[in-house]
Amino acid sequence: MIDKFRADPAAALAVIPSGASLAVGGFGSSGRPDTLLDTVCDLDRRDLHVIVNNVGGDFTGIGRLLAEGRIRRLTASFPVLPEFYDEYFAGRVELELIPQGTLAERLRAGGAGIPAFFTPSGAGTMLADGTFPLGYRADGEVAARMPARERREFGGREHILEYGILADFALVKAHKGDRRGNLRFRLSARNFNPLAAMSGRHTFAEVEHLVGIGDLEPDDIHLPGVFVDEVLLKSPESPKQPATAEFSA
Protein backbone atom coordinates (compact mmCIF):
# COMPACT_ATOMS: atom_id res chain seq x y z
CA MET A 1 0.00 0.00 0.00
CA ILE A 2 1.21 3.46 -0.86
CA ASP A 3 0.84 5.74 2.11
CA LYS A 4 2.95 8.91 1.96
CA PHE A 5 1.11 10.62 4.82
CA ARG A 6 3.26 11.46 7.84
CA ALA A 7 1.66 12.72 11.05
CA ASP A 8 4.85 14.06 12.63
CA PRO A 9 6.65 16.79 10.66
CA ALA A 10 9.75 16.77 12.88
CA ALA A 11 10.23 13.02 12.41
CA ALA A 12 9.68 13.23 8.65
CA LEU A 13 11.92 16.23 7.98
CA ALA A 14 14.73 14.89 10.19
CA VAL A 15 16.28 13.42 7.01
CA ILE A 16 17.12 16.96 5.83
CA PRO A 17 20.72 17.69 6.88
CA SER A 18 22.33 21.05 7.45
CA GLY A 19 23.95 22.19 4.20
CA ALA A 20 21.13 20.85 2.02
CA SER A 21 19.58 22.63 -0.96
CA LEU A 22 15.84 23.26 -0.61
CA ALA A 23 13.48 24.24 -3.43
CA VAL A 24 10.52 26.00 -1.82
CA GLY A 25 7.14 26.87 -3.32
CA GLY A 26 5.12 30.02 -2.75
CA PHE A 27 4.96 33.61 -3.90
CA GLY A 28 5.40 35.78 -0.85
CA SER A 29 3.18 34.18 1.80
CA SER A 30 0.76 32.89 -0.87
CA GLY A 31 1.16 29.13 -1.12
CA ARG A 32 4.21 29.09 1.15
CA PRO A 33 4.77 25.86 3.15
CA ASP A 34 5.04 27.51 6.58
CA THR A 35 4.68 24.32 8.63
CA LEU A 36 7.57 22.68 6.77
CA LEU A 37 9.74 25.81 7.00
CA ASP A 38 9.02 26.15 10.73
CA THR A 39 9.96 22.49 11.19
CA VAL A 40 13.33 23.04 9.45
CA CYS A 41 13.96 25.89 11.90
CA ASP A 42 12.82 23.85 14.90
CA LEU A 43 15.20 21.06 13.80
CA ASP A 44 17.99 23.69 13.88
CA ARG A 45 19.16 23.04 10.30
CA ARG A 46 21.72 25.58 9.00
CA ASP A 47 23.95 26.43 6.07
CA LEU A 48 21.03 25.93 3.68
CA HIS A 49 20.86 26.79 -0.01
CA VAL A 50 17.28 27.98 -0.44
CA ILE A 51 15.76 28.23 -3.92
CA VAL A 52 12.55 30.27 -3.75
CA ASN A 53 11.07 33.14 -5.72
CA ASN A 54 11.09 35.63 -2.85
CA VAL A 55 11.80 35.95 0.85
CA GLY A 56 8.50 37.61 1.75
CA GLY A 57 7.84 40.71 3.76
CA ASP A 58 8.41 39.60 7.34
CA PHE A 59 10.20 37.10 9.57
CA THR A 60 7.82 34.23 8.93
CA GLY A 61 8.48 31.41 6.47
CA ILE A 62 11.70 32.07 4.52
CA GLY A 63 12.06 35.24 6.61
CA ARG A 64 12.32 33.10 9.74
CA LEU A 65 15.10 31.00 8.17
CA LEU A 66 16.91 34.24 7.38
CA ALA A 67 16.35 35.81 10.80
CA GLU A 68 17.75 32.70 12.46
CA GLY A 69 20.85 32.76 10.25
CA ARG A 70 20.10 29.46 8.52
CA ILE A 71 20.59 30.48 4.87
CA ARG A 72 24.00 30.21 3.15
CA ARG A 73 22.77 31.00 -0.36
CA LEU A 74 19.49 32.28 -1.74
CA THR A 75 18.52 31.62 -5.36
CA ALA A 76 15.60 33.97 -6.04
CA SER A 77 14.17 36.65 -8.32
CA PHE A 78 12.79 39.11 -5.80
CA PRO A 79 14.21 38.92 -2.25
CA VAL A 80 12.56 42.19 -1.08
CA LEU A 81 13.03 41.89 2.70
CA PRO A 82 15.47 44.71 3.65
CA GLU A 83 17.18 42.57 6.29
CA PHE A 84 18.04 40.04 3.61
CA TYR A 85 20.09 42.66 1.79
CA ASP A 86 21.81 43.69 5.03
CA GLU A 87 22.98 40.09 5.35
CA TYR A 88 23.95 39.94 1.65
CA PHE A 89 26.04 43.12 1.69
CA ALA A 90 27.64 42.06 4.99
CA GLY A 91 28.86 38.85 3.37
CA ARG A 92 26.74 36.45 5.42
CA VAL A 93 24.38 35.28 2.64
CA GLU A 94 24.98 34.75 -1.08
CA LEU A 95 22.41 35.85 -3.66
CA GLU A 96 22.01 34.13 -7.00
CA LEU A 97 19.55 36.53 -8.66
CA ILE A 98 17.56 34.89 -11.45
CA PRO A 99 14.78 36.28 -13.66
CA GLN A 100 11.49 34.90 -12.35
CA GLY A 101 10.56 32.97 -15.49
CA THR A 102 14.04 31.51 -15.74
CA LEU A 103 13.82 30.39 -12.12
CA ALA A 104 10.46 28.69 -12.74
CA GLU A 105 11.77 26.98 -15.87
CA ARG A 106 15.04 25.91 -14.18
CA LEU A 107 13.01 24.16 -11.47
CA ARG A 108 10.70 22.55 -14.02
CA ALA A 109 13.59 21.51 -16.28
CA GLY A 110 15.53 19.96 -13.41
CA GLY A 111 12.56 17.81 -12.51
CA ALA A 112 11.82 17.02 -16.16
CA GLY A 113 15.26 15.61 -16.98
CA ILE A 114 16.36 18.62 -19.03
CA PRO A 115 19.85 19.61 -17.85
CA ALA A 116 19.90 23.05 -19.48
CA PHE A 117 18.04 25.28 -21.93
CA PHE A 118 18.53 28.51 -23.85
CA THR A 119 16.33 31.51 -23.05
CA PRO A 120 16.27 35.15 -24.21
CA SER A 121 15.45 36.37 -20.67
CA GLY A 122 18.39 38.22 -19.17
CA ALA A 123 20.53 38.18 -22.33
CA GLY A 124 22.71 41.27 -22.53
CA THR A 125 22.28 42.13 -18.84
CA MET A 126 24.51 41.95 -15.79
CA LEU A 127 22.70 38.79 -14.68
CA ALA A 128 24.28 37.09 -17.72
CA ASP A 129 27.65 38.80 -18.20
CA GLY A 130 29.47 37.61 -15.08
CA THR A 131 29.39 40.94 -13.23
CA PHE A 132 26.59 40.48 -10.70
CA PRO A 133 27.98 40.01 -7.16
CA LEU A 134 27.07 36.57 -5.83
CA GLY A 135 28.49 37.48 -2.46
CA TYR A 136 30.53 40.00 -0.53
CA ARG A 137 33.35 39.76 1.98
CA ALA A 138 32.95 41.18 5.47
CA ASP A 139 34.98 44.24 4.38
CA GLY A 140 32.42 44.99 1.64
CA GLU A 141 34.51 43.84 -1.34
CA VAL A 142 32.93 41.45 -3.83
CA ALA A 143 33.90 37.88 -2.90
CA ALA A 144 32.43 36.12 -5.95
CA ARG A 145 30.31 36.91 -8.97
CA MET A 146 27.59 34.95 -10.71
CA PRO A 147 29.18 33.10 -13.63
CA ALA A 148 28.79 34.50 -17.14
CA ARG A 149 26.21 32.59 -19.16
CA GLU A 150 27.07 30.79 -22.38
CA ARG A 151 25.54 32.68 -25.32
CA ARG A 152 24.11 31.53 -28.61
CA GLU A 153 22.08 33.16 -31.34
CA PHE A 154 18.77 31.72 -32.48
CA GLY A 155 16.85 33.55 -35.19
CA GLY A 156 19.32 36.40 -35.03
CA ARG A 157 18.68 36.97 -31.35
CA GLU A 158 20.96 36.35 -28.38
CA HIS A 159 19.96 33.64 -25.91
CA ILE A 160 21.72 32.45 -22.76
CA LEU A 161 22.20 28.97 -21.33
CA GLU A 162 20.51 28.31 -18.01
CA TYR A 163 20.79 25.06 -16.06
CA GLY A 164 17.98 22.95 -14.67
CA ILE A 165 17.86 22.83 -10.87
CA LEU A 166 17.72 19.57 -8.95
CA ALA A 167 17.37 20.38 -5.27
CA ASP A 168 18.19 17.91 -2.51
CA PHE A 169 14.73 18.48 -1.08
CA ALA A 170 11.58 20.37 -2.01
CA LEU A 171 9.07 21.91 0.36
CA VAL A 172 5.70 22.77 -1.15
CA LYS A 173 2.17 23.60 -0.09
CA ALA A 174 -1.11 22.46 -1.63
CA HIS A 175 -4.78 22.93 -0.83
CA LYS A 176 -5.65 19.24 -0.96
CA GLY A 177 -3.62 16.06 -1.11
CA ASP A 178 -4.14 12.32 -0.71
CA ARG A 179 -1.95 9.53 0.68
CA ARG A 180 -0.59 8.81 -2.82
CA GLY A 181 0.81 12.34 -2.90
CA ASN A 182 -1.58 13.67 -5.54
CA LEU A 183 -1.96 17.42 -5.09
CA ARG A 184 -4.48 20.08 -5.92
CA PHE A 185 -3.66 23.74 -5.42
CA ARG A 186 -6.00 26.66 -4.89
CA LEU A 187 -6.07 29.81 -7.05
CA SER A 188 -2.82 31.77 -7.27
CA ALA A 189 -1.31 29.84 -4.33
CA ARG A 190 -0.27 27.31 -7.00
CA ASN A 191 2.55 29.53 -8.42
CA PHE A 192 5.95 27.87 -7.90
CA ASN A 193 4.67 24.86 -5.93
CA PRO A 194 4.39 22.26 -8.73
CA LEU A 195 7.78 23.33 -10.11
CA ALA A 196 9.57 23.24 -6.77
CA ALA A 197 8.04 19.80 -6.18
CA MET A 198 9.39 18.55 -9.52
CA SER A 199 12.86 19.93 -8.71
CA GLY A 200 13.20 18.05 -5.44
CA ARG A 201 15.02 14.72 -5.30
CA HIS A 202 12.86 14.21 -2.22
CA THR A 203 9.70 16.27 -1.93
CA PHE A 204 7.58 17.12 1.09
CA ALA A 205 4.08 18.50 0.53
CA GLU A 206 2.16 20.33 3.22
CA VAL A 207 -1.59 20.21 2.60
CA GLU A 208 -4.50 22.09 4.13
CA HIS A 209 -6.78 19.09 3.69
CA LEU A 210 -5.86 15.40 3.54
CA VAL A 211 -8.52 13.77 1.37
CA GLY A 212 -9.35 10.14 0.68
CA ILE A 213 -8.09 8.21 -2.34
CA GLY A 214 -10.44 8.98 -5.22
CA ASP A 215 -11.74 12.22 -3.71
CA LEU A 216 -9.58 14.11 -6.19
CA GLU A 217 -10.85 13.45 -9.70
CA PRO A 218 -8.02 12.44 -12.07
CA ASP A 219 -8.70 15.51 -14.21
CA ASP A 220 -8.48 17.76 -11.16
CA ILE A 221 -5.05 16.68 -9.93
CA HIS A 222 -2.58 19.50 -10.66
CA LEU A 223 0.52 17.49 -9.69
CA PRO A 224 0.53 13.68 -9.60
CA GLY A 225 1.90 11.93 -6.55
CA VAL A 226 4.93 10.57 -8.43
CA PHE A 227 6.57 13.95 -7.74
CA VAL A 228 5.75 13.83 -4.01
CA ASP A 229 7.44 11.62 -1.41
CA GLU A 230 5.78 12.65 1.83
CA VAL A 231 2.50 14.40 2.67
CA LEU A 232 1.99 16.34 5.89
CA LEU A 233 -0.83 18.43 7.29
CA LYS A 234 -0.51 22.17 7.67
CA SER A 235 -0.28 23.12 11.34
CA PRO A 236 -2.85 25.65 12.58
CA GLU A 237 -0.02 27.37 14.47
CA SER A 238 2.01 28.19 11.34
CA PRO A 239 3.64 30.49 10.52
CA LYS A 240 5.83 31.27 13.53
CA GLN A 241 8.02 34.29 14.13
CA PRO A 242 11.46 33.81 15.73
CA ALA A 243 11.79 35.01 19.31
CA THR A 244 15.03 36.79 18.49
CA ALA A 245 16.71 37.57 15.22
CA GLU A 246 20.40 36.75 14.88
CA PHE A 247 21.31 39.75 12.74
CA SER A 248 24.56 41.13 14.04
CA ALA A 249 24.03 44.50 12.37
Binding site: P120, S188, L195
Partner: protein
Protein backbone atom coordinates in the same frame (compact mmCIF):
# COMPACT_ATOMS: atom_id res chain seq x y z
CA UNK B 1 -3.17 76.15 -31.84
CA UNK B 2 -3.03 77.88 -28.46
CA UNK B 3 0.01 76.94 -26.42
CA UNK B 4 -0.72 76.52 -22.73
CA UNK B 5 2.25 76.50 -20.38
CA UNK B 6 4.11 73.23 -19.85
CA UNK B 7 3.02 73.50 -16.23
CA UNK B 8 -0.47 72.48 -17.26
CA UNK B 9 0.67 69.01 -18.25
CA UNK B 10 2.80 68.31 -15.20
CA UNK B 11 2.33 68.00 -11.45
CA UNK B 12 -0.83 66.51 -9.96
CA UNK B 13 -2.68 64.23 -12.28
CA UNK B 14 0.38 63.58 -14.44
CA UNK B 15 0.48 59.88 -13.66
CA UNK B 16 -3.23 59.47 -14.36
CA UNK B 17 -2.81 61.43 -17.57
CA UNK B 18 -0.11 59.04 -18.77
CA UNK B 19 -2.24 56.02 -17.86
CA UNK B 20 -5.31 57.47 -19.59
CA UNK B 21 -3.37 58.18 -22.77
CA UNK B 22 -1.91 54.67 -22.90
CA UNK B 23 -5.28 53.05 -22.18
CA UNK B 24 -6.65 54.61 -25.37
CA UNK B 25 -4.16 52.54 -27.39
CA UNK B 26 -5.14 49.15 -25.96
CA UNK B 27 -7.19 47.23 -28.50
CA UNK B 28 -10.04 44.80 -28.04
CA UNK B 29 -8.73 41.28 -27.41
CA UNK B 30 -5.28 42.29 -26.13
CA UNK B 31 -3.56 40.24 -23.42
CA UNK B 32 -1.69 42.71 -21.21
CA UNK B 33 0.68 42.53 -18.24
CA UNK B 34 0.93 45.61 -16.03
CA UNK B 35 3.94 46.48 -13.91
CA UNK B 36 3.70 48.36 -10.64
CA UNK B 37 3.25 52.14 -10.44
CA UNK B 38 1.66 54.09 -13.28
CA UNK B 39 0.74 50.91 -15.24
CA UNK B 40 -1.66 49.88 -12.46
CA UNK B 41 -3.66 53.06 -13.13
CA UNK B 42 -4.39 51.95 -16.71
CA UNK B 43 -7.41 49.58 -16.28
CA UNK B 44 -9.77 52.27 -14.96
CA UNK B 45 -9.33 54.23 -18.22
CA UNK B 46 -10.06 51.43 -20.69
CA UNK B 47 -13.20 51.95 -22.71
CA UNK B 48 -16.02 49.55 -21.69
CA UNK B 49 -16.32 48.28 -25.27
CA UNK B 50 -12.67 47.13 -25.27
CA UNK B 51 -12.16 43.68 -23.70
CA UNK B 52 -8.61 43.27 -22.41
CA UNK B 53 -7.28 40.21 -20.53
CA UNK B 54 -4.91 41.19 -17.74
CA UNK B 55 -2.12 38.78 -16.84
CA UNK B 56 -0.20 38.62 -13.56
CA UNK B 57 3.09 36.74 -13.65
CA UNK B 58 2.29 34.67 -10.55
CA UNK B 59 -0.14 32.77 -12.77
CA UNK B 60 -3.37 34.70 -13.29
CA UNK B 61 -5.03 35.37 -16.66
CA UNK B 62 -8.12 37.51 -16.19
CA UNK B 63 -7.58 39.86 -13.26
CA UNK B 64 -10.65 41.79 -12.17
CA UNK B 65 -11.01 44.90 -10.00
CA UNK B 66 -9.66 44.93 -6.42
CA UNK B 67 -11.85 43.11 -3.86
CA UNK B 68 -14.06 45.04 -1.51
CA UNK B 69 -13.22 45.27 2.22
CA UNK B 70 -13.40 41.83 3.83
CA UNK B 71 -13.52 40.11 0.43
CA UNK B 72 -9.75 39.50 0.19
CA UNK B 73 -8.59 35.89 -0.33
CA UNK B 74 -5.00 35.11 0.73
CA UNK B 75 -4.84 32.52 -2.08
CA UNK B 76 -5.67 35.13 -4.71
CA UNK B 77 -3.08 37.85 -5.21
CA UNK B 78 -1.31 39.62 -8.04
CA UNK B 79 2.42 39.82 -8.72
CA UNK B 80 2.67 42.68 -6.22
CA UNK B 81 1.13 40.38 -3.56
CA UNK B 82 -1.99 42.56 -3.47
CA UNK B 83 -5.43 40.91 -3.18
CA UNK B 84 -7.31 40.68 -6.47
CA UNK B 85 -10.53 39.33 -7.94
CA UNK B 86 -11.00 37.27 -11.09
CA UNK B 87 -13.21 38.07 -14.04
CA UNK B 88 -15.61 35.45 -15.29
CA UNK B 89 -13.60 33.22 -17.63
CA UNK B 90 -10.30 33.75 -15.81
CA UNK B 91 -7.66 31.01 -15.71
CA UNK B 92 -4.96 30.12 -13.16
CA UNK B 93 -1.68 28.45 -14.13
CA UNK B 94 1.62 27.66 -12.43
CA UNK B 95 4.64 29.95 -12.69
CA UNK B 96 6.32 28.00 -15.52
CA UNK B 97 3.15 28.12 -17.62
CA UNK B 98 2.71 31.79 -16.72
CA UNK B 99 6.16 32.56 -18.10
CA UNK B 100 5.49 30.38 -21.12
CA UNK B 101 2.67 32.85 -21.79
CA UNK B 102 5.19 35.69 -21.43
CA UNK B 103 8.26 34.24 -23.13
CA UNK B 104 6.26 32.49 -25.82
CA UNK B 105 5.01 35.78 -27.21
CA UNK B 106 1.41 35.41 -26.06
CA UNK B 107 1.28 38.81 -24.37
CA UNK B 108 0.33 41.58 -26.76
CA UNK B 109 1.71 44.28 -24.48
CA UNK B 110 3.61 44.60 -21.23
CA UNK B 111 3.37 48.03 -19.61
CA UNK B 112 6.34 48.87 -17.40
CA UNK B 113 7.87 51.78 -15.55
CA UNK B 114 11.46 52.79 -16.29
CA UNK B 115 14.50 54.49 -14.86
CA UNK B 116 15.80 55.14 -18.38
CA UNK B 117 14.98 54.26 -21.98
CA UNK B 118 17.60 54.62 -24.72
CA UNK B 119 17.07 55.81 -28.25
CA UNK B 120 17.39 52.19 -29.47
CA UNK B 121 14.82 50.91 -26.99
CA UNK B 122 17.16 49.60 -24.33
CA UNK B 123 15.35 49.54 -20.99
CA UNK B 124 16.77 50.06 -17.49
CA UNK B 125 14.20 49.51 -14.77
CA UNK B 126 15.35 46.83 -12.31
CA UNK B 127 18.36 48.03 -10.39
CA UNK B 128 19.95 51.20 -9.07
CA UNK B 129 23.56 50.27 -8.20
CA UNK B 130 24.14 50.56 -4.49
CA UNK B 131 20.49 49.83 -3.72
CA UNK B 132 18.87 46.43 -3.17
CA UNK B 133 18.83 44.35 -6.38
CA UNK B 134 15.61 42.49 -7.31
CA UNK B 135 14.52 41.56 -10.81
CA UNK B 136 11.25 39.64 -10.56
CA UNK B 137 9.76 39.00 -14.00
CA UNK B 138 10.98 42.19 -15.69
CA UNK B 139 13.66 40.56 -17.86
CA UNK B 140 11.27 37.81 -19.00
CA UNK B 141 8.53 40.35 -19.79
CA UNK B 142 10.73 42.52 -21.99
CA UNK B 143 12.23 39.45 -23.70
CA UNK B 144 8.88 37.85 -24.45
CA UNK B 145 6.04 40.34 -24.87
CA UNK B 146 5.26 41.37 -28.46
CA UNK B 147 5.27 45.04 -27.43
CA UNK B 148 6.93 46.75 -24.46
CA UNK B 149 5.24 50.05 -23.61
CA UNK B 150 6.94 52.22 -21.00
CA UNK B 151 5.08 54.71 -18.83
CA UNK B 152 7.18 57.24 -16.98
CA UNK B 153 7.58 60.88 -16.15
CA UNK B 154 9.65 62.53 -18.85
CA UNK B 155 12.34 63.67 -16.41
CA UNK B 156 13.46 62.31 -13.05
CA UNK B 157 12.95 64.18 -9.77
CA UNK B 158 16.16 66.13 -10.34
CA UNK B 159 14.88 67.19 -13.76
CA UNK B 160 17.27 64.93 -15.70
CA UNK B 161 15.93 63.40 -18.92
CA UNK B 162 14.99 59.71 -18.70
CA UNK B 163 15.06 59.23 -22.47
CA UNK B 164 18.78 59.04 -23.16
CA UNK B 165 21.24 58.15 -25.91
CA UNK B 166 22.59 55.26 -23.82
CA UNK B 167 21.31 53.96 -20.49
CA UNK B 168 23.69 54.47 -17.57
CA UNK B 169 21.72 52.19 -15.23
CA UNK B 170 22.03 48.39 -15.65
CA UNK B 171 19.86 47.10 -18.47
CA UNK B 172 16.72 45.00 -18.18
CA UNK B 173 16.85 44.23 -21.90
CA UNK B 174 18.42 45.49 -25.11
CA UNK B 175 16.32 47.02 -27.92
CA UNK B 176 13.05 45.89 -26.36
CA UNK B 177 10.94 49.03 -25.83
CA UNK B 178 8.45 49.78 -28.62
CA UNK B 179 6.62 52.80 -27.14
CA UNK B 180 7.19 55.41 -24.44
CA UNK B 181 4.32 57.35 -22.85
CA UNK B 182 5.33 60.32 -20.70
CA UNK B 183 3.62 63.40 -19.31
CA UNK B 184 4.94 65.35 -22.30
CA UNK B 185 4.90 63.01 -25.27
CA UNK B 186 4.43 59.66 -26.95
CA UNK B 187 7.40 58.07 -28.70
CA UNK B 188 7.49 54.98 -30.89
CA UNK B 189 10.66 52.98 -31.46
CA UNK B 190 10.66 51.34 -34.86
CA UNK B 191 13.65 49.31 -36.08
CA UNK B 192 15.94 50.91 -33.56
CA UNK B 193 14.82 54.46 -34.39
CA UNK B 194 13.16 56.71 -31.81
CA UNK B 195 10.28 58.76 -33.21
CA UNK B 196 8.24 61.47 -31.51
CA UNK B 197 4.67 60.74 -32.58
CA UNK B 198 2.61 62.93 -30.27
CA UNK B 199 2.95 65.93 -27.99
CA UNK B 200 0.77 66.20 -24.88
CA UNK B 201 -1.85 68.95 -25.08
CA UNK B 202 -0.18 72.31 -24.72
CA UNK B 203 3.35 70.94 -25.01
CA UNK B 204 5.51 72.14 -27.90
CA UNK B 205 7.97 69.96 -29.83
CA UNK B 206 10.69 72.37 -28.70
CA UNK B 207 9.84 71.78 -25.04
CA UNK B 208 10.12 68.04 -25.59
CA UNK B 209 13.44 68.35 -27.39
CA UNK B 210 14.80 70.43 -24.49
CA UNK B 211 13.94 67.63 -22.05
CA UNK B 212 15.04 64.63 -24.12
CA UNK B 213 18.69 63.51 -24.13
CA UNK B 214 18.47 61.20 -27.15
CA UNK B 215 18.37 61.78 -30.88
CA UNK B 216 14.97 61.25 -32.46
CA UNK B 217 12.92 62.15 -35.49
CA UNK B 218 9.60 63.94 -35.42
CA UNK B 219 6.74 61.94 -36.85
CA UNK B 220 3.89 64.11 -35.57
CA UNK B 221 0.50 63.47 -37.03
CA UNK B 222 1.37 59.94 -38.10
CA UNK B 223 -1.15 57.27 -37.25
CA UNK B 224 -0.30 55.59 -33.92
Amino acid sequence: MTQVPLQAATGRGTRDGIARRLAADLRDGFVVNLGVGIPLLVPQYISPDVEVTFHAENGVLGLGPPPGPGQEDPDLTDAGKQPITLISGAAIVDSAMSFAVIRGGHLDVTVLGALQVSARGDLANWYVPGRNPAVGGAMDLVAGAREVWVTMEHADRAGRPKIVADCTFPLTGREVVTRVYTDLAVFHIVEGQLRLTECAPGVTPAAIRARTAAPYTEDLGAEG
